[in-house]
């Protein structure tokens, strides 16, 4: 067991965890933030567990919780400030960028970093940026629409 200190969504957590605990289980079960999801076994391909580690999108099932000791994690619960949704969240709602919503938190966490790095992406770049997030409902069309619209909104300063 190791005691770790992780800042999640600007809140500090200090917990004692087994060395083998996955970061995603720490987030979901120790911290009760169940917006981060799990949809594959060991392969780490689906991207539903994507969170940001120090501002970068990573798969929280592919890391041990102890590795996050001393780092800052942002999960989907930390995107909106209060009741104010980010432009990306708003765009997902406005453009029907989600159906069952299971993959959505991971996509939001990946795309919000993506748009910081690439504020004016082409559709091709958006689609390439989404490769690490599998979605089964939407056929990706509305997701691409939403990311494109959010980019435009953010460029306008929204």
């Amino acid at each position: 067991m190791k005691t770790i200190r992780v800042t999640i969504n600007r809140e500090r957590y200090e917990e004692t965890v087994p060395e083998r605990m996955l970061l995603v289980d720490f987030i979901r079960e120790k911290c009760g933030l169940t917006g981060t999801h799990v949809a594959c076994t060991y392969e780490g391909v689906c991207g539903a567990c994507t969170v940001q580690l120090d501002g970068e999108a990573i798969k929280s099932c592919m890391m041990l919780a102890v590795q996050a000791d001393g780092h800052a994690v942002t999960t989907v619960e930390g995107l909106a400030s209060g009741t104010e949704l980010t432009p990306l969240q708003q765009a997902f709602k406005a453009h029907h960028g989600l159906q069952c919503g299971f993959c959505t938190p991971g996509i939001l966490m990946n795309m919000s970093e993506f748009l910081e790095k690439n504020p004016d992406p082409t559709d091709e770049e958006i689609r390439h940026g989404l490769v690490g997030n599998l979605c089964r409902c939407t056929g990706y069309v509305h997701i691409v629409d939403a990311v494109r619209a959010a980019a435009a909104q953010m460029r306008r300063g929204g």
Binding site: T75, A94, F102, G139
Partner: protein, 800 residues
């Protein structure tokens, strides 16, 4: 109550952002894996490494000693303590061999992944540790893998109590007696003998399916007083409830099944009643503690979601003018073990055979189907239930005919579309309403085929190979009792309870259990439009058998047809009561039709000064039920059931453009265009989304995904590295257009949509690939179609 700025009609057909979204984009969704109960234990299954083996012994002693372990359940215990899953509530009314099976394997394992034991521990990591300690002694048996070879008299049997591996067989044409069928077959043979053109191909479609992102999960809770509560990822909680009661021998009133409001996709995979649920519920009752099982992706890909898996040897007879005359099909489905409650693996190919004729006016048909047991996971329903393979066959065969007689495949399709509905297909399927030609012409009006042919020729001259492909599909719009009772031994009607509270808020309760289709939003639009209130003033509850009316489930596109209609019917009953009371209060004689529900008010249209707020009249009837019209009592709640007299359909047509690179066979779908008859649209944004998702599932199934068993029956594709789903970068943009005909049989003119939608995709795709490569005369009769396969064909044709 917020007022609707527009008139009430605006809610119908509006691209209203979804009510569901706020919680889902902020991480507040509550899926089954997010539900935690005090003292909850974690279950992990031990599964067979062998496809077919006798269980010599299952030694759980070491596992029981492992840290954190509370119990280990084996097949022997399930057999002695519970009934089998072969219960009447789970059995179709179709003559088939229904294997008797239990929550866990007994005596032998019948496929790679068959559950052998379940370990229950306080911690999920410890449960996995302990599962490794269960020692199973297997004695291997010869495997049955090839469905055709499985019919040989000396083939080993998957179920030894059965005489052979033939699970189900049926002829779908020619009538009820052998004599009639023989006569029909002879007539069809006569047509084939004299036809100008005959096409015969063996169309093989691999095992693939729809794979929702959320796997299965079951959380069972037991209380001595209240009985069993099961949170289950299910599309049909009411059926599950009866099944739990019957199998575990618990009085049905002591079983409550809750499909969590948020479910991460279903697509048919969550429609069956599964054995794992029984074991979890049994363990929970035995231990008196909550037990949760969250399926791993590995288990999911090993056990469920495998559909398609058919070989259809299809013959088509046509005239040289391009009239389709007759079809003859010999279908084979590789069902696996046939052990999945409600569907038993064969109901899908059964319906697939029924739906084979598609939208064409065949003069005659002779089709049959054999469903054969093998040592593979049982076929599980997947969107495009059973007819992904049969439609692939027909849509490809139609193109082959067209090419043989030198006709544009799109012209040949149009020429043979059923011109007027209603119509009954050669397999006896009833097509209630719609206008196929209108849908088709809408598609073609956007395609500019002559322009494309020019572009194609120019591109070809530069060594660039473009192709266009077409397909279409008649899909069920919900399934009527007429078909549901024989097929699944369950009703087809839709049911909805609508309750108006004293504050004028409308609560809608439905027994179906959605998994992302946007029920909350679309139902709120219907209710808002009907009552002239805001969608925000509606609260939709689904999936809880404790609070909702009996419903057959979110299956077969029942939302837009059956559930929506039941909601509308219930709302109308309440409108009747509200206007009756209001007329009485206003001292006028007026019928419901003379009142308008608009902007949060109920207005007497002949004298708009006579009006009352929706909330006020609700409060008056619920809270102050005095001085009511004679015969009325207080309260505003009703449950309505909807059933159309006949089954209903929707219809779609697709066109796609592809580019193929000769040197590698690699191809790209450049454009995908659709034309849809979905009846009156409630929310076009949601319908668009359904179509996008369905088409991409179809493409991903056709190109990337494949469940592979090796020659030992080992399932070789049990993770997303090996079972490849399409990524965003692999898929095209999709343009959905509408050419709808309101459905005359539903109160709102709506149709159920989206379920069968992937089925037109593989035909259209492969037709486009073949079209691109016409100079080389290649044909595609098997899926998946991958670059390597296409390149081999090009190589064989001397193109490279």
């Amino acid at each position: 109550m917020s007022a609707n700025p527009d008139n009430q009609k605006s809610w119908m057909g509006t691209r209203l952002p979804r009510k569901e979204d706020l919680r889902l984009i902020t991480g507040q969704g509550k899926y089954v894996a997010d539900i935690v109960l005090p003292g909850m234990l974690h279950a992990v299954f031990v599964r067979s490494d062998y496809a077919h083996a006798r269980l010599v012994s299952v030694d759980v002693s070491a596992a029981l000693e492992a840290p954190g372990v509370v119990a280990v359940i084996t097949g022997e215990e399930m057999k002695t303590q519970c009934r089998s899953l072969r219960q009447p509530v789970l059995l179709p009314n179709l003559p088939a061999k229904y294997p008797t099976y239990y929550g866990l394997a007994v005596d032998k394992v019948k496929f790679h992944g068959d559950p052998v034991a379940m370990v229950i521990a306080r911690d999920k990591y410890q449960a996995v540790d302990a599962a490794e300690l269960v020692v199973v002694d297997y004695e291997e048996l010869p495997v049955v893998l090839d469905p055709e070879a499985a019919l040989a008299p000396d083939s080993p049997r998957v179920h030894e109590e059965e005489a052979d591996n033939l699970m189900f067989e049926m002829t779908f044409t020619g009538g009820a007696t052998d004599e009639d069928r023989a006569k029909n077959a002879a007539e069809v043979e006569r047509i084939f003998q004299s036809a100008d053109v005959v096409v015969k191909e063996r169309f093989r479609v691999h095992r693939t399916g729809t794979t929702p992102m959320e796997t299965r999960g079951v959380l069972a809770d037991w209380s001595a007083s209240d009985g069993l509560t099961v949170y289950n990822t299910t599309q049909r909680p009411h059926i599950d409830r009866l099944a739990f009661a019957d199998i575990l021998d618990i009085p049905a009133e002591k079983v409550r099944v809750i499909a969590p409001r948020d479910m991460g996709g279903g697509f048919g995979l969550k429609a069956p009643f599964y054995r794992e649920s029984v074991v979890v519920a049994y363990a929970c009752r035995k231990l008196g503690r909550p037990v949760r099982w969250i399926e791993s992706r590995y288990e999911s890909l090993m056990n469920i979601g495998q559909e398609r898996g058919q070989i259809n040897t299809l013959e088509v007879a046509a005239s040289k003018e391009g009239k389709l005359l007759a079809l003859r099909n010999r279908g084979i489905a590789d069902v696996g073990t046939g052990q999945i409650g409600v569907y038993w693996g064969f109901v899908m190919p059964f319906l697939g055979a029924v739906e084979m004729p598609n939208a064409y006016t065949w003069e005659a048909g002779d089709t049959d189907l054999r469903v054969i047991f093998t040592n593979k996971a049982c076929l599980t329903p997947s969107r495009a239930f059973g007819h992904f393979p049969t439609r692939f066959a027909v849509e490809r065969a139609v193109d082959i005919v067209a090419r043989k007689i030198g006709m544009e495949p799109s012209d040949l399709r149009r020429r043979n579309l059923v011109p007027r509905l209603p119509y009954t297909s050669v397999t006896g399927e009833y097509y209630d309403s719609g206008d196929f030609l209108k849908v088709w012409d809408n598609l073609m009006s956007q395609v500019d085929l002559p322009g494309f042919r020019r572009e194609q020729a120019e591109a070809r001259a530069q060594g660039k190979y473009l192709g266009i492909g077409f397909g279409c599909g008649v899909e069920l719009s919900g399934v009527a009792s007429e078909l549901m009772v024989p097929m699944e031994n369950q009703p087809g009607y839709g049911a909805a309870t609508v309750r108006i509270d004293p504050r004028g808020k409308v609560f809608i309760m439905g027994g179906d259990a959605p998994g992302g289709q946007g029920h909350e939003t679309t139902i709120s639009q219907i209710v808002a439009a009907t009552f002239g209130i805001s969608p925000e003033d509606t609260i939709i509850t689904t999936g809880d058998t404790g609070t909702t009316p009996f419903g057959s489930g979110t299956i077969g596109a029942r939302m837009g047809s059956y559930f929506a209609s039941a909601v509308r019917k219930a709302c109308d009953e309440l409108r009747e009561k509200m206007t009756h009371v209001l007329a009485h209060d206003l001292g006028i004689r007026a019928t419901m039709e003379e009142f308008a529900f608009t902007d949060g008010e109920i207005v007497y249209q002949r004298d708009p000064s006579k009006r009352k707020g929706f909330r006020e009249i609700a409060e008056r009837i619920v809270m102050f039920p005095i001085n009511l019209p004679e015969g009325e009592v207080g309260g505003l709640e009703t449950t309505a059931f909807f059933e159309a007299a006949k089954p209903m359909i929707c219809f779609n047509a697709d066109a796609c453009v592809v580019e193929v690179e000769l040197a590698t066979g690699q191809f790209k779908v450049l454009r995908w265009l659709t034309s849809e008859d979905v009846g009156n649209v409630i929310n076009p944004m949601i319908v668009d989304g359904q179509m996008h998702g369905a088409i991409v599932q179809g493409l991903s199934n056709a190109i990337f995904e494949e469940f592979i068993y090796n020659d030992q029956g080992q399932q070789m594709t049990a993770d997303f590295e090996h079972y490849k789903l399409a990524t965003a970068a692999d898929m095209p943009d999709i343009k959905v257009t509408y050419a709808s005909t309101p459905c005359p049989h539903t109160p709102l003119g709506t149709r159920g949509i989206g379920e069968g939608r992937p089925s037109a995709v593989p035909g259209a795709l492969c037709n486009a690939l073949v079209d691109a490569l016409v100079p080389f005369g290649i044909e595609i009769t098997e899926l998946p179609i991958r670059p390597s396969v296409l390149w081999q064909k090009l190589k064989a044709a001397g193109a490279v």
